[in-house]
């Protein structure tokens, strides 16, 4: 799955140099990611609780049993999956649409690109706060008011963040709003890298705009598309801040996510070992999905 390198620059000295290049990052990754992860793996088989004076003791698979029978955790897994299934395609499609829009000739492209990209620079915690206000319940809420105006009064105002049917979609909307700009920038750059001559050739061959999009644009965007899809997928499995701030996972776990459950278990309830078990299950799931995704969308040129 990884490119085969074929140009050694002299064998022996480089070998050592390479390890020196790798050493600082390796040390950091080991100390601050790998080691804690292994520690989490170890913890997940104990009964460790935050600050508990009791000896942690070996708990076998107890934590895994508890995690897998915890409806909130299972709901979190399902929500994450749903989140990825909705947000990844929608956000990518929107990003592509914006990129296509901006790829035309008109005045002020720079300005609009900046405006559309701006949400990306907002920390998620701040985004969440802003959208809490936008989602405000009752006719006074901005979104409710807007929908009311658009539908000429047919819209019944609702409490989005406290409605089991709307909480997760509300968080999805927030995430899409924040992330689309990133996709747009990557795809826009991809669009500009497609040789103009290809479009001209297609036009000469009698292809209409739709066929040109389908046969020139999309294939030309293959690598950027794969890139944004993979990145967005990974990010959508990490969703946490918005959930924590906007809905606390509720109502009735309707908007909880795995990481949110992990944080709740560890920080709110001190059940560190349970949280560790959840993390491990989650890691295995996401790694599996990522590998599958990479396999399915093996990148052209990425391996050159």
């Amino acid at each position: 799955m990884f490119p085969q390198m074929n140009a050694p620059l002299g064998k022996h000295p480089e070998h050592r140099v390479a390890w020196w290049f790798m050493a600082p990052a390796l040390a950091g990754l080991t100390a601050f990611i790998l080691a804690p992860f292994l520690l989490a793996l170890g913890m997940s088989f104990t009964g460790l609780r935050l600050g508990s004076p009791l000896p942690a003791g070996f708990a076998g698979l107890e934590n895994y049993r508890e995690a897998l029978s915890d409806p909130a955790f299972l709901r979190g897994v399902a929500n994450n999956a749903l989140f990825a299934l909705v947000v990844v395609p929608v956000q990518t499609a929107l990003g592509l649409a914006l990129a296509l829009l901006l790829n035309q000739q008109f005045q002020g492209r720079w300005l609009f690109r900046t405006l559309f990209f701006m949400p990306v620079v907002f920390p998620l915690s701040l985004v969440a706060v802003i959208w809490i206000i936008l989602f405000a319940p009752g006719p006074d809420g901005l979104l409710n008011g807007l929908l009311n105006a658009v539908t000429l009064g047919a819209w019944t105002p609702r409490d989005f963040l406290n409605d089991p049917a709307w909480a997760l979609p509300a968080i999805m909307v927030t995430s899409i709003w924040q992330g689309t700009g990133f996709q747009m920038v990557v795809l826009l750059a991809g669009l500009q890298a497609i040789p103009r001559s290809l479009y001209e050739a297609a036009a000469v061959d009698g292809a209409g705009p739709w066929r040109r999009f389908w046969h020139v644009t999309l294939p030309g965007l293959r690598n950027p598309l794969i890139f944004v899809v993979i990145v967005t997928t990974i990010l959508s499995f990490r969703v946490f801040d918005q959930v924590r701030i906007m809905t606390q996972g509720g109502p009735q776990d309707a908007s909880t996510t795995v990481i949110h459950e992990v944080v709740r278990a560890a920080f709110d309830r001190g059940q560190v070992a349970l949280a560790a078990a959840m993390s491990v299950v989650f890691f295995v799931l996401v790694l599996g999905i990522t590998l599958l995704q990479r396999r399915m969308m093996r990148q052209e040129g990425g391996t050159a």
């Binding site: 100390a31 080691a35 701006m118 920390p123 915690s125 920038v185 990557v186």
Partner: protein, 277 residues
């Protein structure tokens, strides 16, 4: 593709709509930060949401009174400076070794980096916290920065960027008599500004809003970063929405400045890392 007039009008209409969607909430925040607390919500459904009637800087005064904003900002800048500065060096070196050098363990290391990529920080925060607690290391700037210096995403971005860099430059340098290290610093880095800029911005954006870790690791006001400041507004109802929005504006302002200044590089960098994937 010459734009006809109707087409141009249509384009601008679409652009306007998108601006409303993507910039509207930001404008709402800006305007809200200028309004008295109780008006923020009350106005939300009317056009007044985007137009302050009694604008004032009261909320900003209040923010500076309620939290030591300058100290938070300084801490945030220091922490992010460390993460970005050290991170660029450390991750670029690793990305280069993975993309260009040939060594035993390269394939394995690449697989490890990709696998690590999917571990969210929240999932390992507690064990990491235990580790550092065992060292009694907490409550300073470094503990908020050092753990995030080595970053698998940054390594991966650098890796894919370097893969796409024309190899001939480095070969020329090697033939001209430069060693690996010299080649890296004299040839590779100066020709990868876009990648460095985009990785820097991505890392910066990613860590600017960091909340959980500083929450766990700091108690002293003097080392706390900006995101913790929002906690000061978030706990005591009635929530002062105006203050919160004002604080939010102040919090993103530095990022916004960084972004607008480096936008060109960033776009180029994103393109070069993203397209190569």
């Amino acid at each position: 593709m010459n734009a006809t007039l109707p087409r141009l009008v249509f384009t601008y209409l679409l652009l306007l709509l998108c601006t409303l969607v993507f910039f509207g909430p930001i404008l709402f925040m800006l305007v809200g930060s200028l309004k008295p607390d109780d008006q923020v919500l009350a106005d939300a459904a009317s056009l007044a949401a985007l137009w302050p009637r009694e604008a004032g800087l009261d909320n900003y005064h209040s923010v500076f009174e309620r939290v030591p904003f300058a100290s938070y900002l300084a801490s945030s800048l220091l922490i992010n400076g460390l993460i970005v500065g050290l991170g660029l060096l450390v991750n670029a070196l690793a990305g280069y070794a993975l993309a260009r050098l040939r060594w035993w363990g390269r394939e394995t290391m690449l697989a490890v980096v990709v696998a690590i990529l999917v571990i969210p920080f929240e999932a390992i925060a507690i064990p990491l916290f235990y580790q550092l607690s065992a060292l009694s290391w907490r409550d300073d700037h470094l503990v908020q920065a050092i753990p995030f210096v080595a970053n698998p995403l940054a390594i991966y971005l650098f890796y894919s960027f370097f893969l796409g860099l024309p190899r001939a430059l480095e070969e020329a340098a090697r033939v001209d008599g430069a060693g690996v290290l010299r080649t890296f610093f004299s040839i590779v880095i100066p020709n990868s500004k876009a990648a460095f800029a985009s990785v820097a911005i991505v890392t910066f954006l990613f860590h600017w809003g960091m909340y959980l870790w500083p929450l766990l690791m700091t108690t002293s006001e003097s080392v706390r970063p900006l995101p913790l400041g929002i906690a000061s507004f978030h706990t005591l109802p009635p929530l002062a929405w105006g203050d919160i929005l004002a604080f939010g504006v102040l919090m993103v302002l530095p990022v916004l400045v960084v972004f607008v200044v480096f936008q060109r590089w960033f776009v180029a960098g994103v393109a070069s890392t993203g397209i190569k994937g």
